[in-house]
C-alpha cells in the first residue's frame, strides 16, 4: 500500500519536474534570442531544413484536403439546393480550423520529430557537451535557431496549406462538379472577414501552434536520455505530445475567438 502511494507520488513529482524544467528551458531559450540576431545564417539554415523541406507534404496534403472538402461539401449542400455556398464552406472550414490544425499536425510529424532526433543524437554523441567545453553555448547555437525557425515557418506553412486548400476546393467544386464560378468566389468574399477568419484563424492560431510544437520538439531533444532508446522515446513523445497539445489548444483558441 505504502509502496503504491510512493510510486504514485514519484510519478506525479516526475510530471511536475518535467513541466517545470520545460518552462525554465523555454525561458532560457527566449533569453538567447537577442544573440541569434547577430547570426542570421544559423536561422536561415534551420528555416531551410524545417520550413522549406516541409513544403512538399504541406502542398500535397493541402490540395487533397481542399478537394475532399469540395466533394463532401457539395454532396451535403446540393440536397438543400445551396451548392453556391460551397466556397464559404471550404474557405471558412479551412481558415478557421483545418488549415492551421492539419498543417500543425503535419509539421509536428515532419519537422518536430526531426528536430528532437537531431538534438537528441547531438546529446547522445556528446556533441553538446563538446560545445560547452569549447565555451560555445549549445542553447544559443543549436536550440534557439531551431526553435525560432519552427515558430516562423508554422504560420507560413499554414497560410500555404490554406491557400492551396481553397484552390483544391475550387478545382473540385467548380472544375469537376459544375458549381457556378462567380457564386463560389462572391459568396466566399461576402462571408469571410479578414480579422475574424484570416487573422484569427491562420495567423494567430498557427503562431500559437508553432510555438508549442517547436518548444516541445527542442525540449524533448535537449532533455532526452542520451541513449538510442532515449532518443527514440523522446521522438515518440514529441509527436504524441505536440499532437495532443495542438488539438487541445485549438479547442481553447476556438472557444476564445469565435464566440
Amino acid at each position: 500500500m505504502i509502496e503504491l502511494l510512493a510510486k504514485l507520488g514519484r510519478a506525479s513529482l516526475g510530471v511536475f519536474e518535467r513541466l517545470g524544467r520545460g518552462h525554465l528551458f523555454l525561458l532560457a531559450v527566449l533569453g538567447r534570442l537577442p544573440g541569434l540576431a547577430l547570426r542570421p545564417r544559423l536561422l536561415l539554415q534551420q528555416m531551410w531544413s524545417v520550413g522549406v523541406q516541409s513544403l512538399l507534404i504541406i502542398v500535397v496534403s493541402g490540395s487533397f484536403v481542399g478537394m475532399v472538402l469540395g466533394l463532401q461539401g457539395y454532396n451535403t449542400l446540393v440536397t438543400f439546393g445551396a451548392e453556391e455556398s460551397l466556397g464559404v464552406v471550404v474557405a471558412k472550414s479551412l481558415l478557421r480550423e483545418l488549415g492551421p490544425v492539419i498543417a500543425a499536425l503535419l509539421f509536428a510529424g515532419r519537422a518536430g520529430s526531426a528536430l528532437t532526433a537531431e538534438i537528441g543524437f547531438m546529446k547522445a554523441t556528446e556533441q553538446l557537451s563538446a560545445m560547452e567545453m569549447m565555451a560555445v553555448d549549445p542553447l544559443g547555437r543549436v536550440v534557439a535557431p531551431r526553435f525560432v525557425a519552427g515558430l516562423l515557418s508554422m504560420p507560413l506553412l499554414a497560410a500555404i496549406f490554406t491557400a492551396i486548400g481553397v484552390l483544391g476546393g475550387y478545382f473540385c467544386g467548380v472544375g469537376l462538379l459544375g458549381v457556378d464560378e462567380g457564386a463560389f468566389w462572391s459568396q466566399m468574399q461576402a462571408k469571410v472577414t479578414l480579422v475574424q477568419d484570416v487573422v484569427n484563424g491562420v495567423v494567430i492560431k498557427s503562431l500559437a501552434f508553432g510555438l508549442v510544437v517547436s518548444w516541445i520538439a527542442v525540449f524533448e531533444g535537449y532533455d532526452a536520455v542520451p541513449t538510442s532508446e532515449g532518443v527514440s522515446a523522446a521522438t515518440t513523445r514529441t509527436v504524441v505530445h505536440s499532437s495532443l497539445a495542438i488539438l487541445g489548444l485549438d479547442f481553447v483558441l476556438t472557444g476564445l475567438m469565435f464566440n
Binding site: L44, W48, G51, V52, A163, V166, L194
Partner: protein, 159 residues
C-alpha cells in the same frame, strides 16, 4: 551540407510563397480590396421588419449588386428599423421615388435589398431617404395568415 546560396534562395522563395498565400487569402478570399476605399454615397431606408437582413448584405437593382448594407439600427421614435445602404460610385442616377424591398434569394438563401427604379427626375444623393419600402416576408407570419384564411374558408360555408 548544401550550397549556402541554394539554401538562401530556397528559404527566400519559401518566405515569399508563404506571404503570397497570406496575401491571396486576404485579397481573394476575404476580399479586402472592396473595403479599402469606401466610395459612393449613403442613403437611408426605414422598414417595419427587416427579417434576416445583415450588415454587408447586398443591395441589388435588376439583379446587379449596386451596393451593400452598411448599418442597421432601430429607430425608437418611428418604431421602425433604420437601414443604411451604401450605393457604389457610378450608380448615381437612381430616382428619388425608388422603392426598396427586402427579398430572399431562393427559399433558404440570404436576404438582400432590392431597389426598383421610379420615374422622378431628381436623383438620390448622400443622406437622402428612400420613402417607399416594403418589409421582408416573414415566413411564420405568411404561414399564420395562410392557415387563418384556410380555416376561415373551410368553416365559412358550414355556419
Amino acid at each position: 551540407m548544401k550550397d549556402p546560396r541554394l539554401i538562401e534562395i530556397s528559404v527566400g522563395a519559401f518566405v515569399a510563397l508563404g506571404l503570397a498565400a497570406l496575401l491571396m487569402l486576404a485579397m481573394k478570399v476575404a476580399n479586402l480590396a472592396e473595403f479599402s476605399a469606401p466610395q459612393g454615397y449613403e442613403v437611408r431606408a426605414y422598414f417595419d421588419n427587416i427579417g434576416g437582413l445583415q450588415v454587408r448584405s447586398p443591395v441589388k437593382m435588376g439583379g446587379v449588386v449596386v451596393g451593400r448594407v452598411t448599418a442597421i439600427s432601430y429607430d425608437s421614435e418611428r418604431y421602425q428599423a433604420k437601414v443604411t445602404l451604401r450605393i457604389e460610385r457610378g450608380y448615381d442616377h437612381i430616382p428619388n421615388d425608388t422603392a426598396a424591398n427586402i427579398y430572399t434569394a431562393g427559399l433558404l438563401g440570404e436576404q438582400y435589398v432590392g431597389l426598383e427604379a421610379g420615374g422622378e427626375e431628381n436623383y438620390l444623393r448622400e443622406n437622402s431617404e428612400i420613402t417607399i419600402t416594403q418589409s421582408a416576408v416573414v415566413l411564420e407570419k405568411a404561414m399564420q395568415e395562410f392557415l387563418y384564411n384556410k380555416t376561415a374558408k373551410s368553416s365559412g360555408p358550414k355556419s
